[in-house]
Symmetry: C2
Subunit: 246 residues, 2 copies
């Protein structure tokens, strides 16, 4: 329920509100990667002082969603390809653990919830709505919550957000990252108490997401590689002085 505007929020709640707002804005790509995030502009917009904005920004920086350069302020992070690989690698590890914790332990009620969620994804996807991306991510988060492991939930939330940012940078625009059938299959394996199969499916699922999006653009990211054929056709060689990232 909406809170009356005059009522003062409890201590610490406003900082959290700013944090959440910025976080959503980044993940939903209202703030695109690389965007500058000036403290006073944000503070003015939200009606809080720079102090609280700074707190929110440092939290986001820890999560890897924003980058803070000393004396130069904060920007929405622009993950490198290496960071992208790292994130998906860790995510696969965490989600495999999640599968093992969940296999055969879901209550019928939980299964129904998951099924409903998949139906929502389905629907959004059919409409081509942009919320399909959000919903696909929430499926994973929903599973994490069902483990009852709060730390795992936090890590999966964090790494999923990071992956969302990565996809917004390297992924094809608006390609729904998760095929529906994959989520359904995973749920089926979980219900069947087949931990290995669930883990394998999830692994393949994430691998597919990562590859569809990130590896597809791996070459494009390095302008030197991109230009190589053109250079070669003109008989041009790279400058010997600079190494391509040792």
């Amino acid at each position: 329920m909406p809170r009356h505007a005059d009522a003062p929020l409890p201590a610490g709640a406003r900082a959290q509100a700013v944090y959440r707002a910025l976080r959503r804005a980044i993940i939903e790509q209202a703030l695109r990667a690389g965007t500058k995030l000036p403290e006073d502009a944000i503070g003015e917009r939200f009606g809080v002082s720079r102090t609280l904005v700074r707190e929110a920004l440092t939290r986001l920086a820890i999560e890897g969603l924003v980058e803070i350069v000393p004396n130069r302020g904060a920007t929405v992070a622009l993950p490198t390809l290496e960071e992208a690989r790292d994130a998906f690698e860790v995510r696969r590890g965490l989600e495999r653990l999640m599968m093992e914790l969940l296999a055969g332990r879901l209550s019928p009620e939980q299964c129904a919830n998951l099924r409903d969620h998949i139906a929502l994804e389905d629907e959004a996807r059919a409409r081509g709505g942009p919320e399909s991306i959000r919903l696909a991510g929430e499926f994973h988060l929903l599973l994490a919550q069902m483990t009852g492991n709060a730390l795992l939930e936090r890590y999966i939330d964090e790494v999923s957000s990071r992956c969302a940012l990565i996809l917004s940078v390297y992924g094809r625009p608006h390609s729904p990252e998760c095929a529906i059938s994959e989520h359904s299959q995973i749920l089926a394996a979980l219900e069947n108490d087949d931990a290995d199969r669930a883990a394998a499916l999830m692994d393949a699922h994430l691998q597919a997401v990562a590859e569809r999006a990130v590896l597809a653009s791996a070459q494009a990211a390095d302008i030197r590689t991109l230009l190589a054929p053109f250079a070669a056709s003109e008989g041009l060689a790279p400058a010997p002085g600079r190494k391509p990232r040792p």
Copy 2:
């Protein structure tokens, strides 16, 4: 090299210094679980304002090493048994991933480094020095660094710290958490390119650490359980109104 005291530190460095100092103090149990952490006192001790102390404390709170309750300040976190279980669960998942990334990919140089480190642990352990605990933890961190996955490294660092705090609460005092032979065996499996065996060993290793320390005191943590036999011998029954955690 030590920096001259008059030289101003680069921007952001002092906050980080406070953060690191507090972190070490907690992990090395100079600040024991539950200790109050007043902003003023800390700031005075380090020669910085409360602003920077707050920044450090919020970072530590995110990592789970301190607990901040609004309007009541920060204390060194006092993890519950459930949080302890969660932490070890996640840690096992992360370290298994680490084993798979490392198996068969360690350079001879890296192996030598690890062997040296194990020798150090050995030595410290023989002397019964308290640094054996720190060294044992560093072994895991060293492995994480060798994966080249910065995110994994950060997560393992975080969860290891949390486990260290947990052991300081629930573990037997000064029991070296890691048997040396276990580290050696793990390294051997890694060198042998036997990912499955390395993963299994690491799993067993962490399971053993967790069980030796945490599960051993599982009963002791619940005062009701602890008192049950005394109550029964006196013919006393628990109050029916309150449920023991539904």
